[in-house]
Symmetry: C2
DNA sequence: CTGAAAGCGCTAACAC
DNA sequence: GTGTTAGCGCTTTCAG
């Protein structure tokens, strides 16, 4: 039965591995490997009797099917990749979490790539990701090199870009116009009668786009931006507190500040309390993201709300629809609605 | 051009795929597939001349090597799995982020599995994870079924359990004793002269273990726990504010409250300000996790600090050492140090 | 330094 | 229902 000379046998008998494989199960159950495969993947096409024998063998041997091998054969990895700049930010954490939940329910594993805010070598990044042959891809919008863009196109898998609208969408999009957000916050402040403004934005292209949109709208209205400060990304509460201190010299008159995230806004509001700056009478504050910290702070903080969890879930739904074989259709490019939630700081 | 009879051709020529493969590159460069493989994986063993020709072909064809196929052959997936209950909590987000960074630098992709706080079907979970044949595994400590435990053992891959010490460690451990944390917080409060206590803990086994440790130490000291409230997991600021309101009836006398997370503690402190409860004179508060929100709040919140980022990085280092071929050694079971950071709320 | 042969563990496709 | 054959795209191994 056992022939020490034959190479394959010696390989199997080697050092430590106990990689029970489909042939082992098949042998133990007295069936062909294909039958084991059917028991696992299409149980209704196997007789109850055989199924029972195979199941027993699987359990007894502790067989865990090698999905990698199966994927190579079936050309489906049942893995999807998600590329985000960070998960330290609650926004992206929420997106990844809900995306992952939805995909896992559908039997997909998520490969997570955290790429940072600096667009370093996106080609290398996508090569590493696409090399694993994910069945689909979620990426955080726009700003890749042409070569990277080309790679994504040529991967021929469903792709959903989130968080930003793109001028050259690859496939599906769930995003919004960051400049427009800034513009609407400015409009909101202007309507409330403000005429002196400040911006605190993290050094992150989207945050700075929001700031730009804000600045442009303010300037167009003939009002002044007295301070436009860029903070390190990802933004922190500490940076917000610093920001308020930087703003202090300008607070001889009433002012409204737009922060590129709720963390910054919370820092501003907290430091304002310490410094005795009355909010909203003397300083109005608007954040971005509608995190719990802005809703549950005292005073609650005015902010821009987006459907963050919704984005992850929608992205999953988009991809799953495609993976189920449906083609592209209208409505694959979605503008995430946002709105200003007025609270006590403005 | 199109011949419906020849099966292989029709397969390749079919619908959408442009899967450039190693044989295509080899043909284009006039070498054997193996040489292409060498150019990619062991460039120093190929002549500069050949390398140049192959590189050119790779670039021209836009070849992205199929790492899945390579992995099947080499029996290394260069993927590692990370199983955590959530990434919505900054603690785990930090761990995953730093773990992912370290692994990615070493050429590994992270497969993320978010399992939730309810230990539902851990066997199915691990089957899905191990089926992808990760080269190594990070999991969030303890509490699996014997069958699941067995699966992990039989996978014969390096495993690191984080966040909790385990009574039956699978392999490596980077964790701490949650009951001990609770005990030390109690001791800290007792030394400060407190004799009436409360606990707010999320419905999560680790958080409740911390609460239990706290309660036991308090009781042993002959002091009273006037309120021991379980909150929904994951914990929120809102739950903390609710918690303080639940505590109000007991605040006729001085009291010290231990919260199972900084979010809860922040909620308590914020609501206390609203309700006019003086902190720390009338109510002392200690959180857990040392998130930015506790350090940067006004007043800054006393809390328990752990090396969260360090955990992710250490876990990666542990696994990478094993993946590099080193065997187990002393020091593979690490107690994460924690300490109470005294701030203005106690 | 380069190539040819033989799989990795599984499943699609086609018999029976 | 079940088995057989032939790969999936790569790398291991061994031969030159």
């Amino acid at each position: 039965m056992f022939d020490p000379v034959s190479a394959p046998a010696s390989r199997n008998a080697s050092i430590k591995n106990t990689p029970v494989k489909i042939t082992d199960v098949a042998a133990a159950a007295g069936v062909a490997p294909m039958t084991v495969s059917r028991v696992i993947n299409t149980p209704d096409r196997v007789s109850p009797d055989t199924t029972a024998r195979v199941r027993e063998a699987i359990d007894r041997l502790g067989y865990v099917p090698n999905l990698i091998a199966g994927g190579l054969s079936s050309r489906k990895s049942r893995m999807v990749a998600a590329v985000v700049p960070t998960i330290a930010h609650p926004m992206f954490a929420g997106v990844v979490q809900s995306f992952s939940d939805s995909m896992r329910q559908a039997g997909y594993q998520v490969m997570l790539s955290i790429c940072g805010y600096e667009d370093s070598d996106d080609e290398a990044l996508f090569r590493a990701v696409l090399g694993r042959r994910p069945d689909a891809l979620l990426i955080t919008g726009s700003g890749y090199s042409p070569a990277a863009w080309q790679m994504l196109i040529e991967a021929h898998i469903p792709v959903v870009e989130i968080w930003d609208v793109s001028s050259r969408p690859i496939d599906m999009v769930i995003g919004f116009d960051h400049a427009q957000v800034g513009g609407e916050v400015a409009a909101y402040f202007l309507v409330k009668g403000h005429d002196r403004f400040a911006v605190l934005a993290a050094r992150d292209s989207r945050a700075m786009t929001r700031a730009r949109g804000f600045n442009e709208a303010v300037t167009k209205a003939g009002a002044a931006v007295v301070l436009d400060q860029v903070m390190p990304a990802p933004s922190t509460i500490a940076a917000g507190r610093d920001g308020l201190r930087a703003l202090l010299p300008f607070l001889d008159q009433r002012c409204a500040v737009f922060c590129s995230s709720d963390q910054l806004a919370f820092g501003v509001v907290t430091e304002a309390r310490v410094q005795g700056v009355p909010i909203p009478e003397h300083l109005a504050v608007c954040g971005f993201g509608n995190l719990e910290i802005s809703a549950m702070n005292e005073p609650p903080i005015t902010t821009v709300s987006l459907e963050g969890v919704g984005t992850g879930r929608s992205a999953a739904a988009f991809l799953l629809r495609r993976l189920a074989g449906e083609g592209p259709r209208d409505g694959d490019r979605v503008q995430v609605p946002f709105r200003i939630i007025e609270r006590a700081t403005s």
